[in-house]
Structure formats: C-alpha cells, structure tokens
C-alpha cells in the first residue's frame, strides 16, 4: 500500500513539475559585465579600399561610409550638416534621438514584465557606454546600456561594394532585463519626407515603392515578418491577409544615389520595419529588426471569467549571426531595377542561384484533384473525397488545350493525395486517391506529359498534416511552440475571423523536414513523377522549440534547402510556391509568384521586383488569375512582369464545395473557362516565346499608370494599367491595353 502511495505521489510530482518546464536548448545569454573596459577609438578611418572608407565618428558615436570616388557620405544619421541649428523663432532645433541611434532595442523589463523600447542614443551614448575596437576590415562597437544592464556588440566591416553590419547573438550580454529584438541602423535607409525623386523600396509581395511624404507628427509605421508570420506563435483572430515578404532586400533612392540593403544572414528571424511620414523625424525610413528570442502569446481565463494575456519569451536566445549589407548605387543605377540586379548578383554569388531557363510553355494550369466532402449513407455521415478533376480528366483537358492552342502549358497537380486538397496525413499519405485515378493513372499522365515535353509537377505538402500515420505522429513529430508544448495552428471562420478548430493542423518538427522529404522521395520513386511541387516549403515559416537551433525561425532556410536538395540530387524537377528566397533559388519552377504587395496604407506603387530578380533564371507563373479580383488586370500584371499566367481549374463542381474551408474552389470550372484560356493563350504566346530566357533589365512606371518593362534581348512590353488612354513609347494605348515592341530584335 505504501509503495502504491509512493508511486502515486511521485507521479503527481512529475506531472506538476512537468507543467513548470521551460524550453531549453537555445543560447544562454552572457552575463552583463558592468566592469568591462570601454575602449574608445578616436574619429578616424577604420577600414579602406579603393572606393570606400569606413569611418568611426567618435563625436556622434556613429559609423560613416565615405565614397571616395563619388565624394558621397553615407551615414546612419541622415540629418544634413547644413540644416539650420535654430528654427524660425530662434529656438534650437532638436534632432530626434532616434536619428542619432544606430540600434534600437526592445526588452522585457524584469520588474514589470512589460515590453519596453530603448535606443542606443539615450541608452548607451547618454546613459551608458560605447566601446569600440578595431577588427579585421572594420570596427566592433559594443553598446553598453548600463542602466538596463545589457550590452550589444555590433561589427561594421568594409566590403568592396559597401559595408556590412553583423550581430552575433552569442555575444549579447544581459542580466535580468531580457532583450527580445534589435533594430539596426533605423535611419540608414531613409529619405527626407519633403524630397522629390526619392522613394523607399520594400520587398512586400512582388515589391512596392513608398514615396516620402509628411503624414502626421509620428507618421505611420508598418511591420512585416520577413518570409512570413511564424506559425508557431498563437494567432487568436485574423484581421486581414497580407502578402509575405519573400526577399530579404530593401532600399532607398535619393535623387541620383541609392542604397541597396540585403539581410544576408538571419533574415528568417527578422522583421522589416518602416517609419513613414513622421514630422518629428523629418525622414521616412526602412530597417530590419532581429528577433533574438522565441515568443508566444498565451491567454487564460481566470476565476472571474476575465481573460489574461501573457507575453511569453523564452529564457534562451536563438543562435543567430545576423548580417545586413549596404551597397550604394549611383546615377542610372540608382533605381529599383538596379537593386533587383544587385540582389540577383548576390544570389548568384552567395546563394547559388542558377539559370534554369524557361521552357516552351506559355501558360500554366493547376488542376485541383478533390476535397473531403461530407456525405451520408442512410443518414450516417462519412467523409469521402469528391473528385473535382480526375487524372484522366486532367489528361483530356491538356490534350484539348494542346489541340486548340498549339501551345504547351506547365501543369501542376494539386490535391491528389489521400484527402485531396484537405489536410490529412503528411504528404497526402504517400498515396494517390483511387477516386482521382490512383497510381496507374498518374503514371499514364506522366508518360503523356513526358511524350509531349510538358513540364508537370505533382504537389505534396511535406510540412503540414492533420492526422498521424505512415510513421508520423502528430504528438511526437510536430513542432513545439515557445512554451515547449505542442501547438496546432488553425484557419479562421470567414465571417467573424475567429478560430476554426476543424481546420487545425500540425507542423512537422523542423528537425524532421529532411526526413519528410526523404520519405516522400523514397515512397514515390516508382511513380514516374516528372517534377515535385512542394507548395508549403516556399511560403510557410515557423519556429520549433524542440531544438535550440530553430528558435525564432532561425535556420529555416537551411532546413528547407536540405529538403529541396533531396529532389535535386535525385535529378527531379522541383517547384515551389510563392516563394521565399531560400526556396526559390533552389527550385526549377516557381508557381504562384506574387503580383501585388501587402497594400499597407503607406505603400504607393507596386513593382514587379520579385520577377525582376528571377526572370530568365527560374521559370515563374502568376497566382491563379481566375481567383484574382480583377482578372484582366492580373493578366496585364503577368505581361508586365514576364511571368506565365496560371489558371486554377477543376473539371467538375459540386455544391458541397461551399463547405470547403478556403476560397480556392469558388471558381475555375474548366468548361466555363475554356474559351477564356484559349483566347488569352492565343494572344499572349508570341510574347512569351519572345521573352524566353530573357532577363528584365529595366522597369519604369509613369504617372498615368503606364508601365514599361525592358528585357535583355531588346523586347519591350508596355502596359496601360491606368484609367485613361495614354500616349506611350509604343503609341497610344487605351486603359487595359498592352503592346510589345522589339519582337524582331
């Protein structure tokens, strides 16, 4: 009896103590050294090459890049030295402290638990210390926030084409106040609010320009997580949907000079922040912020029924080496077109971007396989796949389109697994649903596509799953939230944007992504699949607190690259959707490229920056244009940016699809869209043939909504996306028309 009692007590203790467990495995913060010597360099050049000199200004405690050739100074403080020191009433003009700060820090105040922001000007320059020491090709600056008892070392190094900033989280010192986020050089990439011929470039969606303007005293801020929201952070409601930031690059143009900034390392754990139109700052700016800790928002209901909200941050930090490079551009190169080229060159040099080249296809089709429909047998409900397009029907549609248009499509098969488009077992249970044609019909379709030289991709979700199976457990193989517990994201009900628990799914643990890819590859070896489409890997970003190296989304690019390499090494074509930079550079095809930005209020003009980076290198298609609000305009956007238009189709439709949890089945019945597709393909195919493998060398926007795209082979596309008829360099164009020049070279 005593033994039983003892065992019971032990069990209760284990249970209770396990409830108090915290995630471990991340980086332990170095203790703040309040006694450390703060060395200080005198104002001087700290590194130099033939073009640039990197200087430390000890009076302002800021870094300055001097372009010796162009005689231009690039400083983290944009205030001009010739600005008056007194205002019209003779009062001294105060510069906002943020303009003089190289870093801003968010931290959790130990006493109150509140999240507080401090900038380096007030926290380190004035109330702390700044230590500087020379390092190879640069300077290391340690910002000591003595009152708050933390210190952040930042390395500034000179490069051939500019300079770079690096923060190593393992060198950050702190005591009780825990740092959560570090924003770097907040006004390095800025433009004066009242300036003309200036803009800020933000890579939101396809890319967007913000023209400097005065909005209000504090202006408007915007913030987007690079590569998308962390799905492991609990989301309680959804106010709206936003296009992701797919590329970690941003920039500014100021008349005849520009700055192209690239987040080279640690982009997964970063945000893109913008402060636009603040009268007190006088400048609008874009800057990146690094998350150094895992985060989750917890809610609980207390005894009185009130909901308590707790911001939870992990004790440990993520091990990240965060690097941002800043590259000046001048004169004709001071444009977003040149920023795109600069970024592409970076991808080629550092990330291994290769020129895959375009196929002969001039359009793309996504076939939707089926979805889980609720049916009843004698009133007893059961779920079964309703076939929207069987593999046989898909083959018939392809044949019909080939015959009618004489042009080839790129084909993507979506929702052909065990549970169709709905989430079920991982990677569709490694099965082709028999109602949709099964493996035999798939092999037949693949053989048909091979004969006709049609690129075809079968889509699998190797990251998200709803139920255990095939060796994957929803409990043990799923990613954990910052609290160390399993968390399953959900969709939202469309009407009230509240959680829809029926759509709950698990994310595969980050250390299992490679195994998930390997398993898919091995299980489908004999399916004769020509290409794999891995939708989710291009757009989904999440942390996993099972392991220390995937806190705050860190190392996501590594995990995804490894997964894609499984297929690359197996000589299979690989397609991704979206897609974030790390996935895009390793793919042979990008589906669903963004054609607009997140449309924040402060955004002014969408630009096809994403396409300018990858066009000619990786073949791309648009989002399904039949699902766009303005379908004809979406086609124009495809023409403008040189990406193939994509239609998302189904052969049959059933009313039970109104219960489908997302909107993608609201249209696309082939018989209704057939003529639209044939007409469009007949019209646009010559153009797409002409720009095959060509790169975009220049893109221009005119005030009247006319947009001009110039390709490396001399072809020019002019589209009028404005409201009125306009004169263009290729003649008069009505609103909604386009014209192609230089087709004969």
């Amino acid at each position: 009896m005593k033994k039983v009692f003892a065992i019971a007590i032990s069990l209760v203790m284990i249970v209770c103590l396990s409830g108090c467990s915290k995630t471990t495995g991340g980086l332990k913060a170095v203790k703040f050294d309040s006694e450390a010597m703060a060395n200080s360099l005198q104002s001087n050049i700290v590194a130099e090459n033939s073009t640039y000199a990197l200087q430390w200004d000890n009076s302002t405690k800021q870094i300055v890049l001097f372009d010796k050739v162009k005689n231009v100074i690039w400083s983290s403080n944009p205030s001009k030295s010739d600005e008056p020191e007194v205002d019209e009433f003779g009062m001294p003009v105060k510069t906002h402290p943020l303009l003089s700060s190289d870093i801003n820090i968010k931290y959790v105040e130990e006493k109150t638990g509140h999240l507080v922001t401090v900038n380096s000007f007030l926290g380190a320059n004035s109330a702390g210390r700044i230590s500087t020491s020379l390092i190879e090709n640069g300077v290391k600056v340690i910002y000591y926030f003595d009152e708050l008892q933390f210190a952040v070392p930042v390395e500034y190094t000179l490069r051939e084409d500019g300079f770079a900033l690096t923060i190593k989280t393992k060198e950050i010192q702190e005591n009780e106040n825990r740092i959560t986020e570090i924003s770097v050089l907040p006004f390095m990439c800025s433009a004066e609010n009242k300036s003309n011929n200036s803009y800020l470039f933000v890579p939101s969606g396809s890319g967007v320009l913000i023209y400097p303007k005065e909005i209000s005293s504090t202006g408007q801020n915007f913030r987007q997580e690079i590569y998308g929201n962390d799905l492991m952070i609990r989301e309680y409601t959804q106010t709206s949907q936003k296009e992701n930031i797919y590329l970690p690059v941003f920039g500014v143009k100021n008349d005849k000079s520009a700055l192209c900034c690239i987040v080279e390392n640690g982009a997964e754990s970063s945000f893109m922040d913008g402060t636009i139109g603040g009268k007190t700052y006088k400048y609008s700016s874009i800057y990146p912020s690094l998350s150094v800790r895992g985060y989750d928002e917890l809610r609980s209901v207390n005894y009185s029924g009130a909901t308590l909200v707790t911001d939870y941050y992990t004790d440990d930090m993520a091990d990240i080496e965060f690097t941002v490079s800043y590259k000046p551009l001048y004169d004709d190169e001071a444009t977003y077109s040149s920023m795109a080229k600069t970024y592409r060159d970076y991808l080629i040099k550092k990330e291994g971007l290769k020129k895959i080249g375009d196929s002969d296809a001039t359009y793309a089709i996504t076939f939707n396989g089926g979805f889980m429909a609720s049916k009843s047998f004698l009133g007893v409900p059961y779920e079964t796949v309703y076939p929207l397009t069987t593999l046989k029907q898909a083959q018939q549609v392809i044949s019909e389109l080939l015959n009618e248009t004489n042009y080839k499509p790129i084909v993507r098969l979506n929702g052909y697994g065990e549970t169709g488009l709905d989430k079920g077992s991982l990677a569709g249970g490694y099965k082709i649903n028999s109602k949709l044609g099964g493996k035999k019909q798939l092999i037949e379709l693949m053989s048909f596509c091979y004969e006709k030289n049609i690129d075809s991709y079968l889509n699998f979700d190797i990251l998200r799953f709803k139920k255990s199976g095939n060796g994957w457990s929803k409990l043990y193989d799923s990613a954990k939230s910052a609290t160390g517990k399993s968390y399953y994201p959900t969709g939202f009900t469309m009407a009230i944007r509240d959680k829809n628990n029926a759509t709950e799914y698990a994310l595969i643990s980050r250390n299992q992504i490679l195994n998930s890819a390997l398993k898919l590859f091995n299980k489908t070896k004999n399916w004769d699949v020509l290409g794999y489409s891995l939708d989710a890997v291009g757009t989904i970003a999440y942390s996993d607190y099972n392991m220390g190296d995937s806190y705050a989304k860190a190392n996501l690019s590594r995990d995804i690259e490894n997964a894609i390499k499984v297929f690359n090494e197996g000589n299979k074509k690989i397609a991704v959707s979206g897609a974030n930079a790390y996935a895009a550079v390793n793919a042979t095809q990008i589906f669903n490229c963004p054609i607009s930005s997140a449309r924040f209020d402060v955004f002014d003009e969408d630009v096809p920056f994403y396409q300018m980076v990858f066009k000619g290198y990786i073949p791309m298609t648009s989002m399904p244009i039949n699902q766009e609000t303005l379908q004809e305009d979406a086609l124009l956007a495809c023409i403008e940016s040189g990406i193939l238009p994509l239609w998302s189709l189904m052969h049959d439709y059933d009313n039970s699809a109104i219960n489908f949890a997302s909107p993608e089945l609201r249209n696309g019945v082939y018989s209704r869209y057939k003529d639209t597709i044939i007409n469009a393909v007949d019209n646009i195919s010559t153009y797409y043939k002409a720009i095959k493998n060509a790169e975009i060398i220049e893109h221009q926007i005119y005030e009247n909504g006319v947009r001009v795209t110039k390709y490396s082979n001399g072809v020019t596309a002019v589209v009028n996306r404005g409201e009125n008829t306009s004169e263009t360099l290729l003649g008069t164009l009505d609103a909604g028309e386009y014209r192609i020049g230089g087709l004969n070279g």
Binding site: M494, R672, D734
Partner: protein, 705 residues
Amino acid sequence: MKKLKKIFVVLLILICLSVFSFSVNAQTTYSDIPVESYTYWENVGAKGRKPVYTQQTHYVKNVLSSQNLNIPELEGLIDVYADTKQDIYLLDGDNSRLVIVDNKYKVKSDITEIKSEGKNYTFKGARNVYVHSDGKIFISDTENKRVLICNQKGELLDILTVPESNLIPEDFQYLPICVSVDSTGYIYVLCNGSYYGAILYTPEYEFSGFYGANKVKQSVTQALTQMINRLFVNNTKKSLSESVLPYCFIDICIDNENFVYTATGFTEVSQMQGQVKKLNPGKGANIMNSESVNFADDGSNWSYNAGKMLRQDISSIDVDDNGYVYCLDRTYGRIYIYDGQCSLVTAFGGGISEGEQQGVFKGASSLTLCGSDVLVCDSEKKTVTIFGLTDFGKNILTARALTLKGKYEESFDIWQNVIKIDNNCQLAYKGLARAYLAKGEYETAIKYAKQGYDRDTYDIAFGKVRNAFISRNFSWILTFGIILIISLLVLMVISMRKNVRLFKNQKLKLLFDMLVHPFDTFGIIKDKNLGSVTIGAVLIVLFYIVTVMADICGGFSFTYIDFAEYNSLFVLLRSVGIVVLWIVCNKAVTTLMDGKGKTKDIFVVTSYSLLPAIFGKLVYIIFSNILLSTEAEFLSIFQVAMVCYTLLLLLIGTIKIHDYSMGRFLGTSILTLVGMCIVVFLIVMVFMLSQQFVGFLATLFLEMF
C-alpha cells in the same frame, strides 16, 4: 539607298509592332481588398444560413487623404457624403471643416465657416453632412445643437433648432447626428439618444412631428416576467426599476421613391435582428421583411481583444437606385450589401479596427454611395476609401435586380457570367432557376433550384412538371387507379366471403386489430400474454428507419437538412432513445404506483403504439415527393392525426396493462416524463464529467510529454 534602307527598317518595325500588338480589355490597376468576401447561403439546413466564400464584388479604387488631396490634415474626419453630381463632401467635425472634392478627386472648396449677414457660424463638433439634389448642404452641428443649412459657397440659408411643440418632451436633447431630405423637401433629423424616431420638418422648415421609431422587442419570458413584476411590485421597487427603451436610429437615408431606410446600430446579441428598416413615407411602418433578418454576422468574436466579445454595430447605411441597401458594421469594418428581399449579396472590407492595409479599417465611421462606388470614411486613419465595382460585382447586382423585377430572361446571360466567376453564388443558381422557369425549361429549373436551395422556384417548376406528367399519362393513371380500387374491393369481398385470414400469425393479427379495437386487443395482449417482443423490436427499428427516411428522402420542398451536418445517430437518440427511456421510466414509476404491467407489456404497448406514427411517416415520404409545399396542409394534418392516434393507443395500452384509471394514468405519465427528464439530466452530467475527466487526462499526458 541608305535613306531607303532606313525607311524600310522603320516600316518593318512599324509592321512588326502592328502585327505583334495585342490588346485585352482590362480594368485599371488597383488593390484587392485584403480580406476574402463572403455571403450567406440561405435555407441550406435547419440553422438557416451558412457563410460561403464568394468572388470580390469590389476593389479599392482610391483612398482619399489629406496627403493625396494636398490639403492640411483632416484631423477630425468623421463623415463623408457624395451628392448627385458625384462631388464628395468630407466633414472634419473637430475642426469645423467641410472639404468638397470633385469627381476627379480635386479639391473644389474648403469651408470652415458658414457665412451669414454679419455673422459666421463654425460647426466644431459636427457629426454628419448631407447634400440634397438641389445643392443645399445640411450640417448636423451636434455639439452646437443645430442643423446648419447652407449653399455650395458656404452661405447660410437657415438653421434648424429644437422645435417648439408640445410633442417635444421637456428633457429632450436636440443633438442632431444625421439628416436626410426626401424629394418633396421633407427633412428627417435624427438626434443622438432620441428613441422617438426622426424629427420631421416640412419643406418650410416647420416641425411636423416624430417619424418612425424602433419598438421594444421582448421575448415571451421577458413579457411574462414583466407582467408578474407589475402584479407584485411595490412603490419602492417601482422607483428602482428601469424602464426598457427601444434602440435609437443611428443613420437614415432615403431612396428615389421616398422610402426611408434606418439603421439601428449596436444592439444586444439577443436582438441582433431587424437592424435595417424600410419605412413608408407616410406612416413610418416597416415595409421590408427585415424584422427577422440579422443584417450583421451570426457569430460573435470572443478571441479578439482578449476575450471581450465583439458585437455588431450597423452604424451607417445607404441605398442605391436598384434598392440595394449598403450597411456598414463599425465594429468589424465590414460592408454588407443586401437586396430588397434582405438577401445578402456580399460582405467585404474588414480589419476589426486594426486595418493597416487599403480596403480594411481602423475606425470605419460612415458609408455613402457615389454612383456605383462605395465610399467609407475611416475616422482613425483619417481617410476615405473608394471601393469600385468589379465586372463580377456589376454582373451580380444587375442580374439580381433584373430577377427581382421579374425580367428573368434578360438576366439569364448575366447569371451565366456570374456563375463562371463564382460557383458559390446562391443568387445565381436561384436566378438561373427562375430564368429557366421563364423559358419553360422546367427540368433544368428544378436542377438549378435544388442547387440554390430555392424551394419557391422548385415548387413552381415541379408543379409544372408534375402536372404535365399527369396530363400526359392521365388515362394510364386513371385506369391504374380504378383497377387498384376494384382489385382491393374484390379482395375484400372474397376474403370476407371465404373468411380468408390475411395474417395467419395471431400475434401479427393482433397488431393490426389493435388499430381498430385497441381496448380489446391490449386486453388480450395482457391477459393471454400474446404480445410479441420481436414484433415490437421490429416496429421500433422501423420507426427509426422511417424517421431517418423522412428526413433524407422527403421531397425537396419539405426537407430542411444540411447533409454536411446531418447525423442519423442523433435521430436514433430522439426516436428510439425516447421510446426506450419511456419504457424504462414508466416501469420504474408504475412499480411504485402499483402498476400491474410487466416490462415486456410496457415494451409491447409502447412499440405497438408506434404503428400509426410509422404509417404517417411513410405517407409523408411518399406524398412529400408528389405534393408541393403549398399543398402541404393535408400532410401536416395527417401527421398530427397519426401522432395523436399513437398517443391514444399508448394511453389505452398503458391503462389496460397496468389496470389504471384515467386519473392514475395521467399521474403516472407525468411522473414518467419527470423521470425521463431526470435520467436525461443524469446522462448529460455523466457525459460532461467523463468528458472533463478525459480532457484532464489528455492535458496531463500533454504536459508530461
């Protein structure tokens, strides 16, 4: 020669350009709204309506702000209005400013004072602006308790203040928040906090009376409670009691036929119905069938704002020439478009007061129409968002208007376009059903009516098909009927003469004898122990099967179930479950009340009594597939009769087997029913406790691993 070559090259380029120039008809490039649109499908199941994704009907055409209008900041932007010339009026109430913008979005004037002879009036604290077709501007100068009427130059024409009349209560606060004027010049003024309705002025600006008003809605329970309270209230209690007042109107607009539309705004969850009313010009009676319609969303968001429930607030409305009502829900920042029959066409916008993107809102404060554009003022963002109509939007609004006007065939092609872009459009299925009906293609009309859950159209089309079938086959049907009747008669005569027994099994015979001679039959069953448990069990199973069949195989016009949510196991509970529960509880009660019936007897009586109900369901299944819903009276009466017959049999059977008097039967029956409730309560409690225990174990498991 060189010149010739050059000319040749230029010509070649020109030819190339002309040959390789294509054009597509496209719209201008503007933003999508960053929230999916949806509508509600009606009559899908018992729940009434179901949210379904739809194609966007609107896009963000432009956003007006002080920056892009190049004017000083509109710090207190509160209202927007567009007149018949499509000039836009932006009211900055906090700063006494009225900015007039033309239809090309250029500023025409910026009025800060209303001028009068020697005196200027500012309107700081104004909350609403209205512009009549004659160009008169009405500013609801709320804080100054007046309505300023001026011309386009900002020159004062008149001022409306609190009328001097016996009709105006002494404590009435004249705080105008909205003005509208009909085509005859009558002015309707809404005052903040006034539950008397709108104040009506004649075209000569004389007070005419109060117009329209909401009524206090009360449930039966509330009414009963109030009645009881009144009966037993003393003076002290009476002085402490709060009077229940109706909700105030918060916005008003008038259509081209002088019908007045009102919005009620924030209401309690239990009263989220009838927020929009269409009042006739004379009496102010609601002529729209809107009292039972929730103009906002059904659910309430608890997750947002840390568990505080977000509730709808239809705070602004407008109406277009086709009678579409545009409602703005301030809480969710959402715009709903309803047709004249209160069917939702679409819901778009959003942001839940945090919208940082174009097309969603932080503080949506008012809505107005400018041609086909929808203008929404955001007092937090200090912007006016202009939503343009997409091709799809044009099509659906045009087609629906044609359908409602009865121009079904004209709407046909447009509905086809709608359904191409949006498979999920219930209105399109309904419209096409009507169009096919008008064309005389009844079979196709039935198909589309079924797809669109349009039971009215289905009924008409089905009636036509059925009548056509009957006329085509009348002679056959008549012959068959006569033969059937004759055969039955012959069979009866033969069986009576030759004493043929239809049922050789005595127990089976007793079952059918029970229908005619229940007293005798139940007596025999009890005395001779001739009741069959097998037959009883079969009857209970049959009862379950026909109940399910009646749900799933009934005629379309009579069936209101959503197959996606229907579960016959629940039917098992409410059919067989109740029968079993009755048997168990009845046995328990009658044991205490000296009942003589055994469990088997109770089972037999109860199950045998179900026979009429089973027959009734069978008749329902057959005839609901033949009759129209307009002919359903017969079915309803027959159903009720069969249920009554079942209860009668149960009564007789119970009296017989327990040897009870009528009074004792009633007593035991009531106790049985109470017992059933207790058992159900216990079952539910055990279920909930076990569920919580499983949940606790699951939490422990998750915590440990």
